[in-house]
Assembly symmetry: C3
């Protein structure tokens, strides 16, 4: 663990000005891909892939080679070291010791890249951790919007298809909201954006989904409920809204996704005619000028007839994955200085001090590699008290929270709960769990006055850390 090293685990590790500055560099690299072979001369990247993903791997390796660096490849770690029982933490420590100057990590467990940063001596790039994050894919998508449209703020981006299971889509919507872009969602029925994604959009960016008028959005909008998600203030929208919902006059980009069938459960069934983006779908009045994006690989959701349409940029989109990764590699390797300020967000992770790991996600690295992981959480909100696993970002399922100082536990939406210092906070699934760990129930206040005194009794600490 080396505090001075910069990693890319989540796109949130970069500030918006940094991202825009990286785009400038990516564009510079793209102008002549063969002219930058001095940048990483003498440096080595290691592709440590616990899941095969040839596309992603090759794009990183191409970027490193184009920067003049060398590449080590472990294209399927599951079959080698891991089979000898080596932990991810140990592998990372060894490979980051002298083998490589930067690690590009792909893993099936959510949070694997975060864990890797805790043990690595060199920068770690998350090249996909389960269904959690894949920040360079998101950067690439944003970079494409920026190249095609000159900006991201204020753009209208239509997302269509399976919006429920696509990791790419979730990261992308957060990033769009963060940049102040507007989202038009056109989900395959039954595959809408999940509630927790909408909740985060609401909490972090003030985004509220509104009904959108499908009239001008092409024939895809006829088969589903189009929604409009915007970080703008409501009064700015009133002009365009009526009973049919907000009218979207101009869409800048249509982002199509494939059905993530490999993640479907027995409850998920695609409609008889899966959504497919045809020339006709693009005939909607608002779509005339929209570029068509897709993270690839595609199956039938974009027929090849569209490939020659000048709006179809999905192959360009993939191509731009190399220069944007060149920029990221150069930055993390210390071969590129940005003048933009780093993110002001200072996320703090608090260790789970009592009881077992509260993360509910069975494929989270905090559960699959428990030996090297100290369970940690980050505080998402104080009222009600909500915590997320520091690794996989899933919410901890806590109806009750306790305080290690007082030994009392409280309903998570109580005033007392709110005042517990993060370092003293314990999450309990339910009352029996709290009791089993030796905590006692706090008295439930019955009036505001009692509530205040009970809160003080239950948590006598200064609330200097309240959010």
């Amino acid at each position: 663990m080396n505090a001075g090293i910069r990693h890319l685990v989540s796109i949130d590790d970069l500030s918006l000005p940094e991202i825009l500055e990286l785009f400038q560099h990516a564009k510079r690299f793209a102008q002549d891909m063969r002219a930058h072979s001095q940048v990483a001369r003498g440096l080595i990247s290691a592709s440590i892939f616990y899941e095969a993903s040839t596309r992603t791997r090759l794009s990183f390796e191409s970027a490193m080679l184009r920067l003049g660096g060398g590449v080590l490849t472990a294209a399927d770690m599951r079959l080698s070291s891991a089979s000898k029982g080596e932990s991810l933490a140990d592998t990372v420590r060894v490979v980051s010791s002298s083998y490589a100057d930067i690690l590009v990590l792909r893993h099936a467990s959510e949070g694997a890249a975060r864990l890797a940063t805790e043990y690595s001596n060199v920068p770690v790039i998350n090249a996909g951790d389960g269904s959690h994050e894949h920040p360079t894919q998101t950067l690439c998508d944003l970079y494409n919007l920026w190249v095609e449209r000159g900006r991201i703020e204020g753009l209208h981006v239509m997302l269509a298809g399976d919006l429920r299971y696509s990791r790419t889509i979730h990261s992308f919507v957060y990033a769009l909201a963060r940049f102040g872009a507007n989202i038009v969602s056109l989900p395959t029925p039954g595959f809408e954006l999940p509630p927790y994604v909408v909740q985060r959009l609401r909490e972090e960016f003030g985004v509220e989904p509104m009904r959108a008028d499908g009239e001008k959005l092409g024939d895809l909008a006829r088969s589903c409920d189009a929604m409009y998600l915007t970080p703008q203030k409501p009064h700015q929208l009133s002009l365009f809204t009526d009973a049919k919902g907000i009218s979207v006059e101009h869409v800048d980009a249509v982002y199509m996704t494939r059905p993530q069938t490999e993640r479907y459960t027995s409850n998920d069934t695609l409609p008889p005619r899966p959504m497919s983006l045809t020339k006709q779908s693009l005939a909607g009045a608002s779509l005339r000028d929209a570029v068509v994006m897709h993270p690839l690989p595609r199956r039938d959701e974009i027929p090849s007839e569209l490939d020659e349409d000048p709006r179809a940029i999905y192959f360009k989109q993939a191509a731009r994955g190399v220069p944007i990764r060149m920029a990221i590699l150069a930055l993390l390797l210390g071969r590129l200085e940005l003048s933009a300020p780093r993110s002001a967000v200072d996320v703090r992770y608090h260790p789970v001090s009592v009881g077992e790991n509260p993360c509910p996600n069975p494929t989270c690295i905090s559960r699959t590699e428990s030996r090297h992981v100290t369970a940690r959480y980050k505080l998402a909100s104080r009222f009600p008290v909500r915590g997320f696993c520091a690794y996989c970002s899933q919410e901890l399922p806590a109806r009750f929270v306790g305080c290690t100082t007082t030994g009392l536990f409280h309903e998570r939406d109580s005033a007392a709960a709110r005042q517990i210092r993060p370092d003293h906070l314990v999450f309990f699934r339910d009352e029996p769990q709290a009791l089993a760990l030796g905590f006692h129930p706090a008295l439930r206040p019955t009036s505001p006055l009692e509530a205040a005194s009970a809160a003080n009794a239950g948590s006598p600490e200064a609330s200097s850390t309240s959010a």
Copy 2:
């Protein structure tokens, strides 16, 4: 698809003078393999292998590294992108976009490399497409003859073993005939050169197989029918021919092949003692000076006792695969200019405009990747009308051909058939198929005069495109 890019799908993509000039460069590279690391500096090759073939892959990658370039490796694509359902066409578009400056493609389907050239933004090298072509192997074989013998024209090359299933052998015999070399075939009984290979030798190069006198050809000739195939004029041969067949006085090279057991059907059985090239086999009077070649890997068809024989050059042969591939890579990457004229052969591919894909080969890329393929054919002869699949080069099984202008169909060996313009030509397996597609039978002429008028009626077009 970029018309200006030069690919290597078939050895026919190179003219004979170009091949000879490439040999000069290969020889120059071979003189000091370590002295050419500026040639491809800053460029990247991508090995996209849908079938594992370590030998071939390493020889290309070594060549690229020795030219100073970088290498991306996807050693088994079947297990990665392809498993997500991505088409070859899409993979090629992505990898050729910005990842790599040249693609080296290996695929199990015949025609895969041809298809790749239709979608690639960079040069494609065919590193083996099913049982179709493997042009750099053939170039390597020719290069070895040229290095060892100083020329190819007029050489006598003896081919022994399984001549039926070896892709390497088929490409090699065409190339030998094209260069004006003579072929002595010594097939394992039951594993003779297939009729379609002999037919092409006959049609393109005027080669007719003649019986060869086995007397001076060593003991292998005793167990099989030796044949002599030469592009020379018959009168030049009369001196050496008698009842026992033509007498081959001097063989320059013996090319031994392994039984391609993996392609055998239940009808194919090797003789109890498979053919094996021993010191004794090389004692034939004509073989005293012959070099011994083998594409490797070998099993028992060349025992190790032969390895120290100075005539055994099969390991040198493999070694020369690197410099010849360096020359090819340098050429296609635009880092080597040839002064020799390019091939005058201008092969035209005509789209199949009516009905389904007529290619009979179930493993042809035009059938396994139908989504991205427009079936095409090339006209091989006009009398009778014969067409080959543009991808896998297999002959289209057509007893009848139709004309899209007249709506009539004809026997393929009729005068009328001959005059249909390639763009209007349709191939029909049989009459029912022609009728089903809405074509009508032409009147069958009964006299030469009627024939002529019927032909004109059936195909009123100018025959400006007749071959």
Copy 3:
């Protein structure tokens, strides 16, 4: 086969002064890993791995890249060429022809690297041949001792855990003895150093195991019989020895190993609580200053609580694998000259001239690749006559030995046996085998005089080659 090429098959291929000089260079490389990219510029290494071993492969490839060279990777040869039935010998001949300038070979069969040297045109580095040798691992271990302690001679190294099945441990103990270091063994009960290892220590280095007093060796010593193995003269030890065994006052390094469970037979069972090195184990009086080493990967034999202990150097140990391999690569590639004299040991291998391959090891390369191997042995001792397989180093199981000149066979511990010249020596499992091969029993001498004359009768040769 090229006699002038230098290989690294066994650590015995390097003299002690050479090893120490290599350490100096490794240290120089380690000072700035990125400053040596001119050393192997223009050269190529090929990783030919018949067994996946990502760790070892990446450390070699990193070393080569850091020296500025290129890398070819065949990470699992079993699945490719080998599946087409190609022999190791042929693969080595091809890859060493022009593809690569040095081979790094990993193989499941003991002796594979030795065989490779017989066919390679470039240097071969043994990166592990079955359970036989892995010399760069041993070099790395020694290098770590040298860096941490400044010397190797006279150090006290404690080996703990499964000392029976660990190839790493066996090579390491030989090397320690050769350098004049002292060994304290703390085996898991039932997993002691095998008798043949102790025998070699005794024969080559005069090492006799003595009981060690466990008192000051920490709690691990309580569960097992600690032994002390030293190449020192007994009189030097008398001061420290009493009834409880020799007292080890200071241990320089503890080398912990993992249970090699994959090699266990049904007779091998780990104790209910497998040996585990904890902070408490290191509390022994003699261990206060010991560094803790482990070849990695580790499982439970070193808990992660130890990772932050300053004595735990196992991750540094792995990191040092790169500079030491840089030194080896540079040496064998001819890019590093050593001033130290080469090993004076001149091991002679004698061909097995009569009968079948006497090597008893079914996984020895001399048996798995019999086609390309001439069975060979080296004479280990003359009284009794003992021979080792030249490939896997296992002792040939011979109760009798014969002489090809006299046609007689003798008990291997007879005076006559002793005098047979190695080139005439034949090993027989038992009498029936000797008789079956046409040899006759020698008369058994009954008195010293008769013995001498019988010996002369049985082997009339000059004993100029006696060891």
